[in-house]
């Protein structure tokens, strides 16, 4: 039974409140179902709705997204239009109007498709704790009980270098079977930069280093992409859950890496 719902006016105030326990709540799309079932007793919630963490600023290529910005806010931002396919692949419009960027980063796979995209973008996540602010990558992100994720910083990718594909059981509002996000930049006819991130496979989004190595220095064509897609299976032990079996995810992973990078339907 809840006895407090706190509405701190800043991230620092939120972190202070969390030292006394309680759950941090952004949009509530993960926390409130747990509160509503009453299955796990919780005494207090610390809401970020008034904490001033919902700004999105884009200055040239550099973008900073407040952790409490909603998925809808990101999808509607003109300078972040490349992320719109990512946002539209997540849940439904009403949930996207509540769900926050910070929540998506911590929710865990097979949810958290924006986190997969942010890993491919090499985004840095700002976390405020008792010892001040630290910055971590998406793959290494862990958030302690009294820490508050405050912002995400990323570079907007050059036109034509961004790739995204989410395989799910239906076209809308389903968790990931496999999510593929990638930045692949070509110069002088060969791949100069490749960052491929995968979701739906492990508890956190993972990079596909073997697939990236296959691409680097090679022409960005179908044979190379097919070789990279096969290599993406290396080191991956997929999740087994209600959305898909580990066996199925392993089988279809190369298909979706190929479709993502070649823009196939």
């Amino acid at each position: 039974m809840l006895s407090h719902v706190h509405l701190p006016g800043s991230a620092a105030e939120a972190a202070d409140l969390l030292r006394n326990g309680g759950w941090l709540v952004g949009g509530g799309t993960v926390v409130m179902p747990r509160v509503n079932t009453g299955a796990v007793p919780v005494d207090s919630l610390v809401s970020l709705r008034r904490a001033g963490l919902d700004d999105i600023t884009v200055d040239g290529r550099r973008a900073s997204i407040g952790a409490a910005a909603t998925l809808a806010d990101v999808g509607e931002h003109d300078a972040l239009a490349f992320l719109l396919p990512v946002i539209r692949s997540i849940a439904s419009p009403p949930v996207r109007n509540l769900a926050t960027v910070g929540g998506n980063l911590v929710v865990g796979q097979p949810y958290g498709d924006l986190a997969v995209a942010l890993l491919a973008l090499d985004a840095r996540v700002e976390v405020l704790g008792a010892d001040g602010v630290r910055e971590v990558g998406v793959a290494e992100l862990t958030v302690g009980g009294a820490e508050v994720l405050t912002a995400v910083h990323l570079d907007v990718p050059d036109s034509g270098t961004w790739f995204y594909r989410k395989a799910m059981r239906r076209r809308h509002n389903s968790a990931a079977i496999v999510t593929v996000a990638a930045v692949v930049a070509v110069g002088d006819g060969v791949v100069r930069q490749a960052r491929i991130a995968l979701g739906g496979l492990a508890p956190r989004p993972v990079r596909a280093p073997a697939a990236e190595r296959v691409l680097l220095g090679q022409p960005f064509d179908r044979p190379t992409v097919e070789a990279a897609a096969s290599a993406a299976r290396q080191g991956v032990t997929p999740l087994d859950d209600a959305y898909a079996s580990a066996w199925y995810r392993d089988r279809v992973l190369p298909v979706h890496v190929r479709r993502a990078l070649l823009g196939e339907d």
């Binding site: 509530g28 809401s47 439904s92 419009p93 109007n97």
Partner: protein, 160 residues
């Protein structure tokens, strides 16, 4: 902590209510204000039967602690029919047999209202996406999709 007094503007009328800690917007609407069009389905944000407009955006009201939205403007299905006249979405649902048991209808209509406010001439795909968070176990969705598209045409005809 004691309960708090929360102010909401619901369907253009100001209301004050006493919110116990963690009271959801849905419970506030239904139990404190007696507005029972928004339905309590899953309480998980999954079924869409409690969708209302919160500051003009469609949200599942079961996921919102009402204390966190003190001062907000809310629109429910009760506030859609102006002066007792069904609006275009409601009349298109009625004429197109887009309701059967009716449990999802309030959430469906509010999701459709949010879509049409933002996008007055949606494609079929836009409609499908807009109601992708609303579960209907009766109709098979086809009459609902058709009704939303019909509502868009009716609204365009009225303002043309």
């Amino acid at each position: 902590m004691p309960s708090r007094i929360v102010t909401l503007t619901v369907n253009d009328a100001d209301h004050e209510l006493i919110a116990t800690p963690g009271l959801t917007l849905l419970a506030a609407l239904r139990d404190a204000l007696g507005l029972t069009a928004a339905k309590r389905g899953c309480a998980q944000g999954t079924c869409g039967s409690c969708v209302v407009l919160l500051d003009e955006r469609a949200v599942p009201a079961c996921l919102v602690p009402v204390e966190t939205v003190d001062g907000a403007a809310v629109r429910t299905l009760e506030g859609v029919a102006a002066g007792g006249e069904l609006d275009e979405v409601q009349s298109a649902f009625l004429d197109g047999f887009a309701t059967q048991c009716g449990f999802c209808t309030s959430g469906m209509i509010m999701a459709a209202e949010a879509l049409l406010a933002d996008n007055p001439s949606p494609s079929r795909q836009d409609v499908v996406e807009a109601i992708s968070g609303n579960v209907c176990r009766c109709t098979g969705y086809e009459p609902i999709v058709a009704a939303v598209l019909d509502a868009a045409r009716r609204r365009a005809g009225r303002t043309a």
